[in-house]
Symmetry: C2
């Protein structure tokens, strides 16, 4: 998924792809290596990724479309398209779409859990 | 650089920022941690990042604006806005803007070199 046929062994993914579901936030994996993963998270209004933590991995949420509230160690930060936030290893973090429109977020995490 | 004052300790960066220079490709660092770095590369027409390799780090080039030719282990791949390519650890890789317009590329690399 995310690797269109380009007639070569070079791995290409489309980060503008979206998949929304009224039931829950959707995750689309773009790349996963030994070192990291890159996903697109698609959030309908009201959907969220619940706050959680990873002992050894840093994560970045980069908002491509819409806006979300990011929570990092109890602090809330509104992020609009074009903004990214760092959730350092060990921090409790999550995002929520409290807006009235869909949100799409590029998520980068290393090392992968 | 890249960390606007938001009145909190949460680290936010703007990935839509650009800085072009006729002399050479510009790199703007957004985040750097123990695990990875995220930069924006800004390429005027004709500018390039010469092919090089990192023994243990995977890299992703994600084209946000314009288009570039990515080279991975001798294979060339045109990337337009919305497309990203994986340069696995050990591969020789680079990008070049052969188009007539500016290009901006989000670059993830883990672990940082």
């Amino acid at each position: 998924m995310g690797y269109p046929a380009h007639g070569s062994a070079v791995k290409v993914a489309i980060f503008t792809q979206r998949r929304f579901d009224a039931a829950k936030m959707q995750k689309i994996n773009l790349f996963e290596t030994e070192q990291f993963f890159i996903d697109v998270y698609c959030l309908e209004p009201g959907q969220a990724q619940k706050a959680h933590a990873h002992a050894g991995s840093d994560k970045v949420y980069a908002v491509m479309e819409g806006s979300v509230i990011a929570r990092v160690d109890g602090q809330e930060q509104e992020l609009r398209a074009g903004e990214m936030v760092l959730a350092p290893a060990g921090s409790e973090h999550g995002i929520e779409n409290r807006s009235g429109v869909r949100a799409a977020v590029l998520v980068f995490m290393a090392p992968r859990p």
